[in-house]
Every structure is written in C-alpha cells, then in structure tokens.
Amino acid sequence: MLQVLIQGLLLSGLYALIAVGFTLIFSVGRVLNLAYGAYLLIGGYAYFYFAQTLGMPKFAGVLMAGIFGCVLGLLKFQLIVKPLKGNHVAIEISTLILAVFLQSTVIFVFGDSSKILLPIIPGVERVAGAAIPFSNLFAAIASWIILLSLWWFVRSTHMGRAMQAVSMDAKGAAISGVDANRVNMFTWGLSGALGAIAGVFFASYTQLYPGMWVAPLIIAVAVVIVGGIGSIIGTLIVAHIVGFLEILTSAYIAPELRGVFTMLLIIVILVWRPSGLFGREEL
C-alpha cells in the first residue's frame, strides 16, 4: 500500500512535468503539438550524448538537453507553426510527421537499439518493501520544483501574465501592448526545454530508445483531455490521476495493462465530458 503510494507520487510528479509543456502550447498558442513527444526523445538523446558519450557533468547534460529542446521548439514555431498560421489540421499533420522524422534521425545517428541512461544520482533506498531509486526521487523532486517555479513565473512576471493574457483574449492582449508573436516564441522555447528535461527523467525511469516519443505524447494528451486544458494546478491534479491509475493497474491487475487504462480513460472522458474535468481553455 505504502509502496503504491510512493511509486504513484514519484511517477505522477514526472507525468505532470511531461504534460505541462504540452498544456502551455495548447493554452497559449492553441496548437495541438503532436511532435511534443519528440522533445523528450531529443532531450533524452542529447543528455545521453553529452553526459555519457562525451562525459560532461550530468547537470551540464541536463542543461544541454534543455537547450536542444528549446531550439527545437523555436525552429518548429518559426518554420512550421507560423507559416501554417491557424490551419490546425495542417499543423497537426506536420508536427506528427516531424516527430517521425526525428525518430528516424535518432536511429540514423545512434542506431535502433535501446540505451541505458546511467542514474543521474546513483543509489537505492528501500521503504516498506519498495525500492526507490534516488534517480527517480530526484526526478520527482526536480519536477515539482520546476512546476512550482513555472506556476510562480506565470502568475508573477510580466511575461507570465502576458502568456495568460494571450491564452484568454488575443485582442485584449494586443491592445495592452503584448506582442503575441514574441509571447508565442517564448512559450514554444519554454515548452521545448521543459519537454526535453522531462525526456531525460523519463528515459532514466524507463530506457532510451527511438520510439520513446509516443508514450509521453499519450500521457500529455490524456492529462490535457481529462483535465480540460487548464491551469498548471489542474495539470498537476490530473497527472496524479493518470500516474496513480497506472501504478494501481500494474500493482493490482497486470503491469502489461498499465497504459491501457489511461487510454480508456481518455475515451470515457471524451464521451462523458468532452470539455474535461476542469474544462476551460485558458492558462
């Protein structure tokens, strides 16, 4: 029981971090970014390359992952989203294709086989029969710190308030002197960096392999659909619902079915409450 609680908390913190970058882009840019999982992929491999292949310090590896994700986000905005302005189907198809393209690039550069990320912090603690790798604990705590900082940022800075403003009323933001283009650029860069850092943690939780962008994308979509696009707090709550659902499923039913219930939950919510549990579209 305690084991389930601990594992659920650790996993949910990570899921919240995975989902929040996706939520940001949907709220501010109104774009369903199906290439979101690619940030995690690129982040994981960037960390692998810089920290393990080149042997840079682990913190520097995480930083490089964040920078790669940020640049990828900015490029995606400038080269795909902005030219296709407002054409949602085209943006969704293009971003999905981009994710597949990046997967192929990763296979081309690093090969098809999966890689093991060494723990960011080595060591394991046993609590009530549950093995808690320090790496997972670090990932959960880091996720919480990042989410709380983000929550503070969005509420208390000019740029953060501008992001909320653009998400709630584009014209209102424009006549307040907010440049929506700059806010969008910033949000895409931030979303990419968050996704890539989440990718490092996610890969250290599971493993690093070229198809690792799919599962996080489903988690992010699930959090967004179940929660309704909402506040950062809403993302946190629903990430815990999804995280605990997975842990409970693998503990009491079968580990093979863990992802299945998340997807069933998506369908149930779509049918029963299309606007989500906390449904509103603003940040």
Binding site: R155, H158, R161, A162, Q164, A165, M168, D169, K171, G172, A173, A174, I175, S176, G177, V178, D179, R280, E282
Partner: protein
Amino acid sequence: MAMLDIKNLNAFYGKAQALHDVSLSVEEGSIIAIVGANGAGKSTLLDSIMGLTQFTGDIHLDGRSIASARTRDIVASGVGYAPERFNLFPYMTVRDNLMVGAYTARGDISRNLDMVYRLFPRLKEREKQETSSQSGGERQMVSLGRALMSSPRLLIVDEPTIGLAPKVCLEIAEVLKRLRDDFSLTVLITEQNANFALSLAEQVQVLESGQLVASGTPAELSSDERLAAAYFGHA
C-alpha cells in the same frame, strides 16, 4: 497640429468594405465623439487606429505615421484603447488585468495604479476578484483602467455606456471628463447613445454606413433638424 490625424481611411473586413474614405482629426486636449448606429463602422474605425484591421489611407499620431506600425508600438507611443466588448482576461484578477495593461509602461506602474484606483475605488475593493464574475459596469472600469495603465495621452473608448445602468453611465462620463481636465488626456469615444455623446464631447462626428456624413459642435448638430431626427431621437 492635430494629435491624431486620419486621412482617406478605407478599411476592409475580408472583401467587404467597412469604412469609406474617412478623414478625421482630433485636437490635443479635446473630447471627440463619433456617433452612429450599430454596424456603421465605429469599432472598425477604432480598431484601424490600433492597427488591428486591413486598411488603406494614412493615420498620423503627433505628426508621425502609424499606419503600418504594430499594435504594441501604437500602444507604447501613447494610445490606450478600451474596446466595446472589453476583451478582458476572464480568469485573471482585476489587479492582474491592470498589470497586463502596464506591459509597455513598467516604470509607471505605481503611479498609474494609484490613478486607476483613485478614479475607480470599486476596483481597489475588488482587486482580487476574477473579472469573469463581475458586472458590466465593473468590467468597463477594468477595461478603462487597463487602458490607462499604459500611460496613454490619447484614450480611445468604444461605446463606454453600452449595456450600462444610467447611474454607471454618469460615473463613466465623470471619469472621462476628469481624465481630460485633471490628467490632460485627449479622449476619443464612439456612441450609439447620442445624448451621452452630446453632453460630453466638444466635437461630434456622425458615421453612417462607413462614411462620415456630418460633424460639428453639439449645438450645431442639435439644431440640424434632419440629423436631430435621424440620430438624436428628437425633432
């Protein structure tokens, strides 16, 4: 030199032309009203000044063309806009709505916030409330307050009294007068409520189907029988 000078403005919504060859100037320190029925093009005219529509023609602010300027630069050069539907941020507090208005005038926040709260004490009382839960009158105050947070010299207000109770209309009129008299702002408003416009403005322009058809002081316009019957509801 006029503070705002609009020359031969033609504005479009898609292929439909909403404004035809509108020319208008606003002198510094005056209160000007544009009167017209629903759909006459009042909001399009104001949106065009803010760079939010497709248009041809020229618009000068203090002698400099702003016709191709970006909205944020127009705001930063001293034009505050309170639009008809307010366009507030519904799930942000009153105070945060005002803070977004300060985006281009961060050095003046404490002075402007103090001015807004002095003009609208009710906003100070409700600064922690989300605007989605507010009445129309309160939203109009937030909208005006947000526009004032950008340190404007020209304040543009689209239909300040629409949907508001008569008592609130008087309050708003009082504030607009104080902004001109005490804070040296120039004020440009649109109105369907011609009596409100006549009681407030020194100069009134009449907009009909996208064209300016008459202009004058309130006294001049009231004495024109044809206009009086058509726009001001009395013969």
